[in-house]
Amino acid sequence: MANVSALVDRSTAVGAKPALTAVKLSMGLGGLALVLLMLLGLCMRLAQGGLLSMEPELFYEIMTAHGAGMVGIAALTGAGIMWFFLARHVQLTAAVYWLMLCCFLLGVALVLGAIFVGRFAGAWTFLYPLPAHSGGVWETGAAAVFLAGLLSIGTAFLLFYLETGRAIIARYGNLSQALAWPLLLRGSQDDAPPPAVVASAAVIVFNGIGIVVGAAVLAISLINLYAPSFTIDPLLAKNMIYFFGHVFINATIYMAVIAVYEIIPEYTGRPWKTSRTFAAAWSAIMLMVLAVYPHHLLQDTVMPGWALAIGQVVSYAAGLPVIVVTAFSLLVYLTRSGMRWDLASALLVTGVFGWTAGVMPAIVDAVIVVNRVMHNTLWVPGHFHFYLLIGEMAMAFGFMAWLTRADVPEGLPGASYWGFLAYLIGGTGVAVTFLIGGAMSVPRRWAVHVPEWFMQDRAAAFFALISIIGTIVLLGRYLARLAAAAKA
């Protein structure tokens, strides 16, 4: 086994020390929760494929836990990455990260209690007025606890963004400087921020807005639970929920990609610099993320036509900065760099692939005529499984592998290689079987499938099992190395 005495603490600046333990804990908790939620996902696919008997009520409880949990994991691991690398450039307060983690875990406990004790099964999107209309499946209290749990998680991330925003402003003066707008507008900037700061500033802006809107709609939903005569226009509620939800889940990968900007240069020897194009792309992303959510409402024919047109057009455009700035730049940096592959670099590059490829089905689905047919099929889960499993979580595991890599080059030895391969093949298989199901017009969120759909359900379960094995290997490696480093 490689020398692990110098493992784990890879911080390079004084600011990186705060909350290192909390970041490691976040990544470990994220990995453990991922395995558990993947098992729940496997159970759902087995039940759909007729291989496991499951009551529909339980299926929807599991689906709610799976959805809410995966969003939470993606956000927590993304936040851990952003905090770790931002601390290289600005002075952060460790106590705030711990506070965020406590609020987050409290929220998780409330959400899990609402689902598995209170039997709440209204999906993580808590679409109004579903939480108040359970048809007798769950009590009002369960829905309230679920919404309170989401509020607690939202508060956790609000604190996180306030602190990271404060630290960036203390260092760079204001967020426009941190977004490199002087460089963008004038072509030069004396104190140009590194990519990690630019990305963090963009995420702080758009997710801060998203969380404030989310808090408002959660409070409104809570009031409606106990005072049903206070109603809200369901279309307005849906707009607010999808604005919050889409922005929040998008933010996870925009935080995670910071690992690519900070780690890949260590392998290639070519620093990832903030260029004018980079600054323009991130500023564009910042605005587009706020405007793209109407593609979730393309089937709501009562939506204003202009909003749906924006949803479609911005969905096309939103993919471009991602591809130009990150995927294309990554290829340029990798070309003839002579870098030696190991688990961390392989997972990070896979993450960019998963991100880029995972965006494509969403762009297809954002075409209004396609959306009318595809949006309520398994096509959409195909998109976000690709995006999150092969994109965001691959980056998170890449960061975890880098955090615990030895000082000597390790390459990609046996267990790591097979774990990586199982994760990649299994995860891609899960996403592709969803996409095939969508192309076959198999509806999503159905607990019971007809026998004609069993084949792809069972194939999905098979790939899910492989991806779970891969995840266990990657997580086991991380935890074992943390334990070894702690002993050393």
């Binding site: 306030l162 630290a167 203390a170 260092r171």
Partner: protein, 211 residues
Amino acid sequence: MKKSGATAGFQAAAGAGVIVALMLPFSRGRLEATLVGHVLVQMPLLVLAGWLLGSALAEKLERVMEQWNRFGVAGFTFAIFVMLFWMVPRSVDTAIAHTGYEIFKFAGLPCAGAALALSFPRTIPLLAGALKAHFVSMLAVLAWLYTAAPVRLCNSYLASDQKMLGAGTALFACAFAIYWALGPLFGLPKPQPTIASGAAAAREAPGGARI
């Protein structure tokens, strides 16, 4: 930064002047005739007057605040409870009918404004940011509550006034959100040449940057 005596004097005079102007029967009657005038004009102006008075007295109260309002916690707590009271429609209604409530409004809201003025400069950016974010989201909720209420909430005002108040509160929420977003985005840049000096400056500055 030290404030000049003239500035403090001007702020105190302006604050007192606004309160007196709002107490005049003409302006009181006009503003309290509609729910929008009462809640979205008179009450915020009373808070603003209190803010001006608080700002004017900040230096004189420095030692007291150091002992009794560390990080602004006491001031914020007081201001939040006063505002909570005046968020309840019945309080607004009763202020029209009972002189005692009216007097409490004219005394309490300026005190809340003064408490905010004395607390924001003392607090940590995290708390200030959290309060601002919460204020904006709760304004949005309040806008919805007044718009969606299935019954008339105030005996003194028409149901149509409620809808108008809801719309006005939504505009207020947007205005505050934009105003508070512009500061962090475009605030006066203070670039620091190195990480070390930046970190040191952040440590030295009381409360660090504003957000």
